[in-house]
Every structure is written in structure tokens, then in C-alpha cells.
């Protein structure tokens, strides 16, 4: 039956297909829970979860916090801006200090790839990676795929293209791994400067022509152009207008197709850059479904990991 194979959720790498199916199965029931008049269940009422955000985040933190509260967990929030990190404390010390206050689970976002993996070896509680640098963002990939299974049924053989800034995106790698585990075919498409060379080795197609990619795919997952991470010395593309003209997903491009791809965007959107407003607000966009499902999927992850904590042997 549904058991999670790992103590932590560090990334999609390391998960099995059965883990993802367990998350989806529970997420469906949690989604029903959070649409009721009373949106809360008591499953985690004896646990305390720390949300450690060493990098800014609004929606992911909010989504995790709601998920925790709807499972009745106690929640503490920590953000680097208001912390002793600035005073020179190491990551392990910071986290151990928080754990000394009897915290049972950690949700962490960190600017450095691998930070949660490092921490998992140092501390004794489950860690959920809420994004580590440009590496992985597993709950985002899970909620993207969950949203797609709601819309399309099984993802076996479905064609998904990830558009945009692959280089700076933690969503891209997690999505590729998750989609491939679920049997989908994956392409990444964007300017050559924004697609790392090694991406082909993940078993995905690499494209640079948006119209061809749109004609191929059943699903377009449009990633944000990370304006804050664009090269300071050499830009990755000449201007936002030129990016939009060459790589933006516009209604004009979609109108040329004989089919209607499902449109995903992990947010926050740059309207008029990677995605046009009419596409973002169109009938085929499931962007707000992604946000809604985010809470249910994160509840499922917290629930499954908490289930492995054990009441008696701790």
C-alpha cells in the first residue's frame, strides 16, 4: 500500500513512481477536505513544523504554511532576512538551534543547491526541500504533474514541453524527472543561452523553435524569466521585448495550432515577457488550479512523511 520510500523529500531524484502515486492519491482526498466548510483535519496536531526560508518566497511559503495549518500542525516561520545567518552562524548551527526547541519537521528553501541534502545528513528530522538554488523544487513538480493528471488522466505517452529559462530554474529539473517517472515525453525549449548543455543527457529533447515545440506538445509549461538572475556582464538575450517576440507564448502562436495545449506556469508571471496576458487568462491555462493543488499536494507530502515518524519509537 501507499508508503513513502524516503524519510525526506529532497528532490524528485530518489523517488519512485509509487511514491508519486501515493502523493497524488492522498492529495485528491486533501483537495476534497480543503473545499469543505471546515477545511481542517487533525492528523498532525501533535507535530511542529519549521519553515526555514533562507531565500525570499511568498507563494511557496504561504502554500506550505496553509498546508501545515490545515493538517493542524504548529508552525514556526524563519526567514534569513531577520536572522542570525547575517551574524555568521553556520547552516547546521542555525537549524540545530531551531530543532533544540523540539521541532518535528523542517521545510527549507535555500539559495545553494544541495543545502537540504547536506542538512539531511546532519539532523535527525525529515526535511522537505522547498527549492534549493537552481537545483530542485520537488513539490512544484508534484503539483504540476498532479494538475496535469486531473486535466489529462494518465501522463503515459503525453508530450510536455518546458519553455523558457531552464538554466536558472529549479522547477525544470524536478519537472523533467517527475514527468519521466510518470511516463511522459519531455522537451525543453528556449534560447540556447538559457538551456544548459547537459540537459540532453536527462533523456529530453532540446528545441529552440517555439512554434515547432508548440505543435509537438500536449502541454506547455512556461517558466518565468528570472529577471533578477540574468547575467550582469553578458546578458542571456538582448531585451525583454526581443525575448517576447522570439520565445513568448502568445495567442497568435496558439491560434496557428490544430490542437490546444494545456498551459502551465509556476508563477510569478511576467506578463508580456514569457507569456502573453490573454494566454495566461485563457481557457487552456490551469495556472490557478496549480496554486489550489499546491496546498493539497503539500498536505499529502507532509502527511506521508509524518506517517513515517512513528509515534512509539521516538
Amino acid at each position: 500500500m501507499a508508503e513513502f520510500s524516503s524519510r525526506h523529500l529532497l528532490g524528485i531524484r530518489g523517488l519512485q513512481r509509487s511514491d508519486i502515486e501515493a502523493v497524488f492519491q492522498n492529495a485528491r482526498e486533501f483537495k476534497a477536505v480543503i473545499t469543505r466548510p471546515i477545511k481542517k483535519v487533525p492528523s498532525l496536531r501533535d507535530l511542529t513544523v519549521a519553515n526555514l526560508f533562507f531565500e525570499n518566497s511568498t507563494r511557496t511559503r504561504l502554500s506550505f504554511e496553509l498546508a501545515e495549518k490545515r493538517l493542524s500542525a504548529d508552525v514556526v516561520n524563519f526567514s534569513a532576512a531577520s536572522s542570525s545567518v547575517k551574524k555568521g552562524e553556520t547552516l547546521a548551527d542555525t537549524v540545530n538551534n531551531i530543532l533544540a526547541m523540539k521541532v518535528d519537521m523542517v521545510v527549507m528553501r535555500h539559495p545553494h543547491p544541495g543545502a537540504p541534502h547536506y542538512l539531511a545528513e546532519k539532523i535527525g528530522v525529515p526535511i522537505i526541500n522547498a527549492g534549493d538554488g537552481t537545483h530542485e523544487h520537488p513539490t512544484q513538480a508534484l503539483l504540476d504533474s498532479f494538475t496535469l493528471t486531473e486535466k489529462l488522466g494518465s501522463l503515459e505517452g503525453k508530450k510536455v514541453c518546458i519553455f523558457g529559462d531552464i538554466r536558472h530554474s529549479r522547477v525544470a529539473l524536478s519537472n523533467v524527472l517527475c514527468l519521466k517517472l510518470l511516463g511522459a515525453e519531455v522537451m525543453v525549449c528556449g534560447p540556447a543561452t538559457l538551456i544548459p548543455k547537459h540537459f540532453g543527457s536527462l533523456g529530453v529533447q532540446v528545441g529552440h523553435d517555439v512554434d515547432e515545440a508548440l505543435a509537438w506538445c500536449d502541454v506547455a509549461n512556461v517558466l518565468r524569466i528570472q529577471l533578477e538572475r540574468q547575467g550582469t556582464e553578458v546578458p542571456y538575450f538582448p531585451s525583454l521585448e526581443e525575448y517576447h517576440a522570439g520565445f513568448g507564448i502568445t495567442q497568435a502562436r496558439l491560434d496557428k495550432l490544430s490542437h490546444r495545449p494545456v498551459i502551465l506556469h509556476p508563477g510569478p508571471m511576467n506578463r508580456g515577457v514569457e507569456i502573453a496576458s490573454d494566454v495566461a487568462d485563457g481557457d487552456d491555462a490551469v495556472i490557478l488550479d496549480q496554486v489550489e493543488n499546491g496546498v493539497a499536494v503539500r498536505m499529502a507530502v507532509l502527511y506521508l512523511l509524518a506517517g513515517r515518524l512513528g509515534g512509539s519509537e521516538d
Binding site: 501507499a2 508508503e3 482526498e29
Partner: protein, 187 residues
Amino acid sequence: MGTEHLLISPLQFQLTLDRLAHQLVEEHGQFENSALIGIQPRGIQVAAQLRDRIQAILGGDPPRCGDLDITFFRDDFRRQDKPLQAAETNLDFTVEDLRVVLVDDVLFTGRTIRAAMDALLAHGRPATVELAVLVDRRFRRELPIEPKYVGRSVDSLDSQRVKVIWAEQEGAGENRVELINPDPQDG
């Protein structure tokens, strides 16, 4: 496996469900303001059987009937080896001001029913809540919970299991209830 002892024969099984359905109609009349709610996973078949019988007695539309999953409300989460897998809740009505009959197959410690009452309150405030069970393993209660409608009361040991077998399960034979004694070497 252990040794099995037939607790309710196929014929008794039909008669027991018939009797429970009649008792429910006796108490709830036309069921205009009442609802049957089966507790997942094993109460839903009992509830469906009672619904069909009540419809046969009253004629017309079947009484309101829903499935309630109680997984997230259990008090033994993390006291089990595995996380508990949730099942579906299918309630297409609110229970506000309804006379609700919770339905389960076997009543044992009462903890499931405690969780079911919590889960039920997330769907509104029922006028009354009653409990109907196919088998009541009496003297084994850990909470002050008693059923109003009982198919059969049995006295059993903690080590024994009461198993309700449905004909629609593959290779199951006819509907019946068995008491299973553990093998002596299993302890």
C-alpha cells in the same frame, strides 16, 4: 490463517440486513430528513445494502446515502507501521439538521466511530447521530460508544478476528461473517 468459525450464515446474513432495514424504517419513517452514512472502507457495503432494502420497503427514491472517510481523523496515526491510506468521501449533501445513521460492519473498540463523529462534523451539524453495525463485539469498548441498531452481538477475545465476507469479492462464495481464531503458534 487460524481456524474459522461461522458466526452469521448466508441465510442469517440476509435476514439480519432485512431486520436492520425494517428497524431503520420503523425509527426514521420515510427518511425525508434522515441519511445513511457508511464508514470507509468496510461500512459502505453495509450502508449500500441497507439503502437498497429501505428503498424496496418504502418504494420511490432511495434514501440519502453517503460514504465517509475517517483516515485523517484517526487517533492512531503514527502508531501504526504504515501511514494510513485515505479513501474517498462521497457526500453529495450536507448533514446540517439531518438525522444521521452511521453504518459500519464491525464495532470493536469504538475508536473508529469516535473519529467518524469528528469527520462528520466537518460536513455540518446533524440533528442526531445514531450508529448501526452488522456485528457488535461487545465488552471490548475503549470509549463510551454504543450502537442503536445491532445485527449480531458477539463475545470475542482481543486475539480473535471478526471477518465480514461479501459475495462480490473474488472467490468469496456467499455473504457471511466468520470468527477467526489465531493459530496457537502465532501467539
